[in-house]
Symmetry: C2
Amino acid sequence: MSLPRLKLISFPLCPYVQRSRITLLEKNIEHEVEYIRPDALPDWFFDISPLEKVPVLLVDEQPLFESMVICEYLDEITPGSLHPEDPFERAINRAWIEFGNEILDKTFTLFKTEDEKSHKHAKSIILDRFDILEENLQHSPYFNGESFSLVDAAYAPMFRFYEVTKDLLHFDVYEDTPKIRAWADALLARPSVIQCVHADFMDNLKGFLTRPDSFFGRSLKTD
Amino acid sequence: MSLPRLKLISFPLCPYVQRSRITLLEKNIEHEVEYIRPDALPDWFFDISPLEKVPVLLVDEQPLFESMVICEYLDEITPGSLHPEDPFERAINRAWIEFGNEILDKTFTLFKTEDEKSHKHAKSIILDRFDILEENLQHSPYFNGESFSLVDAAYAPMFRFYEVTKDLLHFDVYEDTPKIRAWADALLARPSVIQCVHADFMDNLKGFLTRPDSFFGRSLKTD
């Protein structure tokens, strides 16, 4: 198997990058990772990332953007597949990946936003989406049962946010969703999910999420 | 070739539904379309669409949601492909589909939002994204050249908004992007793009977009 040279461009704390890194690790694909800082972007980055977002995967120097597009590409160029074989099941997996994109986005808002209104709005959407997801989870320990899939790679970074902040949040996000809680626990114990970030990542993320310029960070200060 | 029974659930004016309908027509797939009204949703719809969104494709009665997921599924279960054969080219196409999702979303905001601030914010994002897209268009008449692809199906409904409103908007969205203008013209002349909506669709959409409860609609009244 001759693969192109692959380099993943990342921010240290970006959850979307983790999806691609998990896929690289799950499929045991040789690759490099280059971390850049979002507050000190190198000039070359503007040429390869149209929206200045990560991840970008350099494929023999050619840039590819969008986390799940990168995951599908990595899956397609290597033997086996992290998607179900049946086209309808594969489509259902992709639909729930799309569903998860909004939850990850709102989770980021929950911790990052400066104002209380959008924090509360994000919380209400997350809990609503969790209820729907809970009703639709049919297998365990992973989304499709015993086999780890791209849909698991898509959700794992979101579960990491709640793991890092579980003793800080004013609510238990999994209170009414035991199936999601079990799914999160299974994913956070998976080697690829553990290894896709640095050993000091959890502490760094906690520091970032509890900064006083976010509503969430300020809410901790006054407790 | 034995396909499942396919029924597409649609709102009359929804742009996302058009992507799936274009794919059905391009691949000459037997299907039904059922239109429902967003202000009078039937009870059964809540059971099949977790976010009360369309399109939903019923596949032998099993629901599948998300427009591009539906397009990929339809492409995969029928001969030939509307994606490039090369995995990297296919990934690049998918990346630009994701890029287009935000433009379509902001285009909808441009016409639907009640307040001037978000109208102007949407406009600035659209023009910025158009500049980036223009720089990255490498072929004509379609995204990949002579072959019509899923990425074309993804963008066509957005171009329809600007066709319907071209004499009403206070700016020419294509002013600095002649390649996008040519792409839009080619797509809007394509039979599948024309036939994916009702004959009276353009008039209905114009009526909807110019309603006085939107900033855009009110801006027309006072001209």
